[in-house]
Symmetry: C2
Amino acid sequence: MTEQKDKKQVYKPKAISGFPEWLPEYRAIEQQWMDHLRKVFESYGYCSIETPAVEELEVLQAKGEVDKEIYVLNRVHADPNEKGDARLALHFDQTVPLARYVAQHFGNLAFPFKRYQMQKVWRGERPQLGRLREFYQCDIDVIAVDQLPLAFDAEMPAVMYEAMTGLGIGRAQIRISNRKILLGLVEALGISDSVSVTRTVDKLEKIGEDAVADLLKKEAGLGADSINKILQLVKLKGDARVLENIHAENEQMAEGIKELTFVMNALSHLPQGAAIADLSIVRGLDYYTGTVYETVLLDIPQFTSSVCSGGRYDDLAGSYINRHLPGVGISIGFTRLFDVLSHYGHIKPGPKSPTQVLVVLPSEDRRVEASSTASTLRKRGFNVELYHAPQNVKKQMEYANKKGIPFVWFPPFEDGKNHEVKDMASGSQTMADPMTWTI
Amino acid sequence: MTEQKDKKQVYKPKAISGFPEWLPEYRAIEQQWMDHLRKVFESYGYCSIETPAVEELEVLQAKGEVDKEIYVLNRVHADPNEKGDARLALHFDQTVPLARYVAQHFGNLAFPFKRYQMQKVWRGERPQLGRLREFYQCDIDVIAVDQLPLAFDAEMPAVMYEAMTGLGIGRAQIRISNRKILLGLVEALGISDSVSVTRTVDKLEKIGEDAVADLLKKEAGLGADSINKILQLVKLKGDARVLENIHAENEQMAEGIKELTFVMNALSHLPQGAAIADLSIVRGLDYYTGTVYETVLLDIPQFTSSVCSGGRYDDLAGSYINRHLPGVGISIGFTRLFDVLSHYGHIKPGPKSPTQVLVVLPSEDRRVEASSTASTLRKRGFNVELYHAPQNVKKQMEYANKKGIPFVWFPPFEDGKNHEVKDMASGSQTMADPMTWTI
């Protein structure tokens, strides 16, 4: 039966490091996850947008050279004498594309603009587990004109908590702070180099309190009193009540405390521990001006970094449009999460096929009955395959087994009655009517 | 209230030619279309796969230099002394990636392998309406080991007819032929240059019978008798009965006629004219070895090319694996279709927001009731926004209007009763209970 070709030279393909792809049974779960996220995002009124995979290099670098490893495109057959188009590069996140999109379509969007975006992004980094060159990000952002109500800062964690817990990977904890609090304290202490303070505090969870104190002394040149005050602040962690104990040294601190208190109070309907105030959260990017978020998975110790992060920024698209557009957003590093979780066996693969019912084709002369049975079931919403050739029934059952198809249907004999269906899990076979049968 | 920034230099972004993006109200329709296609594909048992956006250039060119304009990637900061990774390039279709995927994961797939794939592909072509540099393709293919039953050749048009007609863009007609018939005739006539014949016949609909006869004479050097026999054949068009009149000159022709007859008979359940035999269909690519498909939209005269094409190929992955893997597939040029249809106004935009209900926030001290109302409705499956600030009700209604939100909900007063909901289309306002209300 089998026709074997002459052995010949083939180019044996291998996986490209950093560019993951999944077998169908894992792709099915990836789709389930994405469907779930989309459903949650839409249930809070976020609309979908998609931007091209590329931006002009000049757009990506409008705020200056970026240190992400950007992939630029060249056509393989490009005519060297051809007048150059703008140089195109693959986007490395969805925030720059969002800024460009909002600036470009400003007059056609309704504000506050609430959008979600679930696309692949590319970074030419050295790949390792959880650090990929191509990965999905799932972002929500709200962009307003001139003023953005604080209610949106509180909406982000509410949406993401629902999004994360629906994935069936245990408890998520969203840790929230407001950069104005720490930056206000830094200002009150007369420290000019705020960046080195925030960068050091950002390491607290990783390197511990003593190492942070040491760095603040050696690298930022702070005195013992300043270090003590900073550490006292950033060690605060808990529900809204921990904020009551912070003494506001200046207006900026007071504003930060007020904003964070509002956000925490608005999240009081979430289960205990779902969202906590954590003053050590500062985020690396200077970009953020107020509320900031990180998220840990309490039941997945192998996933050590933040799975879902973001914050408020004052001026989204200032490089592209002369309008003041504040925003707040949060982003799931989707593929990074999926990659690490599947690596550690935390993802149970789905079925190899979406087919729910395999209709047996007993012989060529009963194709009409079999085909019409398949069609009836399909119209009723089931995913149905008609077996592709009139082979013996054992072979057809094997196919169902191999693909994990849960039901095998035996179409009627000439009398048009007596359908039977076999439940492959239990092995039981019963009479059934394709017009009324349910799983 | 508004804070106007100092005028400063901005980089005003513009659309990149050939890289389409849509406003939210069109993106909503694009999503609807893709959801529909996915549902149809899965209902016939096709599983989803996704491959990375890139392949190794060597994989893309394993069958020799390809004439598509390929985009290759370079890292913007690449160290010139760094040992080169393999050169990566964006895929220009989904067939080469499928071949590579099947070869690479051969041992982990269940055959016949039925997969759909809906991803963006990139081609560095000169853009024009309907010819883009970045576009979605939506493909289904079945790959078997050694032998592929003809039933799958008949399944392709059945699936795609359902897929296309569900888009609400009028009647689709799938035109089917089998290359063995024309190639058999060419062989019987002793013509050695079959490629120039198929390439000429491919132009029949565009340039007409006389021009084709002329080209066959001048370019392929055929005599009057051969030209006449070829034209007689390729003018045949209609249901399975037209095939009865073809005289098989050799075994290859006979096999082609038999196969096409099987396919047409298996499609007899489709509405009249949905699938026709059309012997002028040959497809440009030599790649195809049997059944071939093209699809025209009968009610969209502006869309002149085939919207959905494909066919059977003998050996999918011969460049990558020493196994004989025949396949059959068909592909929708999704974004090309969407682009042309929206250009000609054939696509009615959807809502600017997925929100179905806007819950009014009457004042800050009624946030708890309003928030809990929104939450109740959301849990019941509705897409719900709680208005973001306690502004006056007129302003909140304006927001609903601007975003096309169909219902505005007034939460209860202190007594917890007396919810009211306003239907924005009719203007009628009625009492409603968030636990039982339906649209």
